[in-house]
């Protein structure tokens, strides 16, 4: 289906953005409201789940990983998002007691529901069970909010947030730092500034 046809088809009907009541997830009532406090141990290692319960269900985590890997798949440079723990990162994020997380949680969970509904509407299956081209067919329609049809605006906002979360989790890891070529966070005896050849190339003094 070409893009023009897709748009017509999408316009005719797309899955409605779900109106969530109480957020889904089995552990909501157990969400701690305290967070890590104002004086946490900064030297400890905090794995997701250490400070507050992770709340995504098994099917949600499966979908979370599939979508994260559509956004950041493995390539010649580095492995995929899910391979470096991004699902745990996102689960930690949407389960946290802070305002940003409380704001993002219904968007992410709503997005998951919307993806499945849209997949069912278009292809009669859950999003996780679609072929890769079918999945990207849906993602193409919501990946750029500025070019997205009005009826898909909520889904596009979800996708933008989810891409930020996926990238946030991925580029925070050693794999992500290496992927972009970050060389810092090592002690140096001296700092010599940029190499002269690079400055010449850029016509800088």
């Amino acid at each position: 289906m070409d893009r023009r046809t897709t748009i017509k088809w999408v316009l005719s009907a797309s899955a409605a953005w779900p109106l969530l009541g109480k957020p889904a997830g089995h552990a909501d009532s157990a969400l701690p409201v305290r967070g890590y406090g104002t004086d946490p141990d900064l030297l400890a290692v905090y794995r997701p789940g250490k400070l507050w319960l992770l709340t995504l269900t098994v099917p949600q985590r499966r979908l979370a990983g599939i979508l994260a890997d559509i956004i950041i798949p493995a390539d010649d440079h580095s492995p995929s998002a899910s391979a470096v723990g991004v699902v745990d990162f996102i689960d930690e994020w949407v389960s946290a007691p802070y305002p940003a997380s409380q704001r993002d949680r219904p968007i992410v969970l709503g997005g998951f529901i919307w993806l499945d509904a849209e997949a069912a509407r278009r292809f009669g299956k859950g999003f996780a069970d679609l072929a890769a081209t079918e999945q990207t067919g849906i993602c193409d329609d919501i990946c750029d909010e500025s070019r997205t049809l009005t009826v898909l605006r909520d889904a596009a906002r979800f996708f933008a947030l989810y891409r930020d979360l996926t990238a946030g989790g991925f580029y925070s890891t050693p794999v992500g730092r290496k992927d972009v070529g970050y060389l810092g966070n090592v002690p140096l005896a001296r700092f010599d500034g940029p190499p002269p050849a690079l400055l010449r190339k850029l016509n800088l003094p």
């Binding site: 440079h77 946290a96 970050y182 190499p195």
Partner: protein, 600 residues
Amino acid sequence: MPFVTAKSHRSAYDVIVVGSGAAGGQSAYALCMDGAKVLMLEAGRRYSPATETPMFQTPDLAPLGAVGTPQKPFGFYDATVDGGWDVPGEPYVRASEEPAGRFEWWRARMLGGRTNHWGRISLRYGPYDFKPHRRDGLGFDWPIGYEDIAPYYDKVELLIGVYGSNEGLENTPDSSPGCLLPPPKPLVSDLLIAQRAKRLGIPAIPGHRAVLTRPLDFRHSPARLHPGNVTAQKILAEDMRNRAACIWATPCGRGCSIRANYQSTTVHLPPALTSGNLDITTDAMVYEVTLGRDGRANGVSFVDRTTGRQQHATARVVILAASACESVRILLNSKSAQFPNGLANSSGRLGRYLMDTVGSTVSGQIPLLESLPPLNEDAADGQQLYVPWWLYPDQRAGKLPFARGYHIEFGGGKRMPGYDTAAGIEWLTGGSYGVKFKQDVRRYYGSFVYFDGRGEMIPNDHSYCEIDPSVKDKWGIPVLRFHWRWSEHELRQAAHMQRTFADIIASMDGRTHGVVHSDGAKAIAPGGSIIHEVGGAIMGSDPKTSVANPWCQTWDVPNLFVTDGAVFASNADKNPTLTIMALAWRAADHILERMRRKEL
């Protein structure tokens, strides 16, 4: 036993210093090194940078990728303990929730206070900055001039270690020979900004930050700082030897376990403690300066946070250095028959003329900086270069619609990746995902630049704090209520910043991100949010219109001093910390001299 509880306080100290940050640290250092017995009271907990600083921790080891939350607003690894815009159990009140009337108050509850996380930008006020009213008829002149404080700027720079350069620019003072450490090498983005800004007539010069770009001169500086005082020289030389130079890694805002930048806890307090003249009590929340029958301060009352009990300590002299607003709060809460409106408030000016810095930001993306080869650009953690205020001639010629200037802090480079590295970049990528997204992130990483304007606010009658009539903190201490209003000068200045930054980005063939505001009210950051709040107990030459005299001594109570930002009579664009320290050292020398003469 330098860290003591209220139980083991001496029966009397020469001086009580309330607060342990830039002002308290500097006051205690100068007094102790010259033999005065000092008790320092800090509201927060004891804090040890050597053992608590997360130097090389990466965001994947922290909750939520180390992003800021209300409990750690500047990120998980920020040094601040028990602080931020909200301190649990210690509220404050805003008279208005309107954006234009909003004031935000950042506090820390830890030894060393906000010096543990601050930006280390250390700019001198210039001659104009002490006499602004004389130049344009607005605000107030200080009762001192640049020449009074210049020797103390030299001393503070020698002691704490500040990098920078002498450029001989208007109202941007040079330091005495040997005071500054060499500036760090600029980044690629710094050099590009400097090159393009210069074409617009905007000068970029080396920044001034309290970071050791090489070891301190422990052989010569101690004698310059403490002439004739062999004991002090020995203590300081040993301490300077124990401070390492910068290792060109890890953000300064986390604090520095190797003591390569200035924080009170790594620079002022260790030698003061070594002198044997300093006792420190942490968790001591001072709420009142007590008055003797002779009308002089005889000590302070505080809540011991560990027991909740009220305690009292006595001394010949009391120095408030609790931060501008906290010191004002203590004075306003120190009511007596003699001072029904708060101590040292016979002028009625206590709490008045609160100022912050005008702040405005524009960021952009620079195609010339895309896809550069991998480089280690941690450098000095920013401010390798900056732009001092450069439009004095235009202002003199009446070509600008506002009084007073601003400087520009800017940055870019290949910073440690984290949550922000690839967030919200669809304005560049068109919403890519998949392998293309990864390519886009590599392409754009390190190609972003930001410009922060930091400008002078003129004191006005509508920006002040007072005691709220009903709200108390968890210790039962009445809290502050803030009133805030910008004048047209600040709003127009903020709009001017936006246009200037957009011009610089355009001159780099870059793209600005987001709206460039021509409306100053939309361009300006809320009051207090730059965390340069000063004023509230301003110094002056007339007891009727000011709270303190040129020595930071309150007009009303001769043995009561305020050495923090509260005494500022103006808030030049230059970040206040270096000036706070210079004033505090000058006041300490004055106190020592008066004590020797038995006048205090």
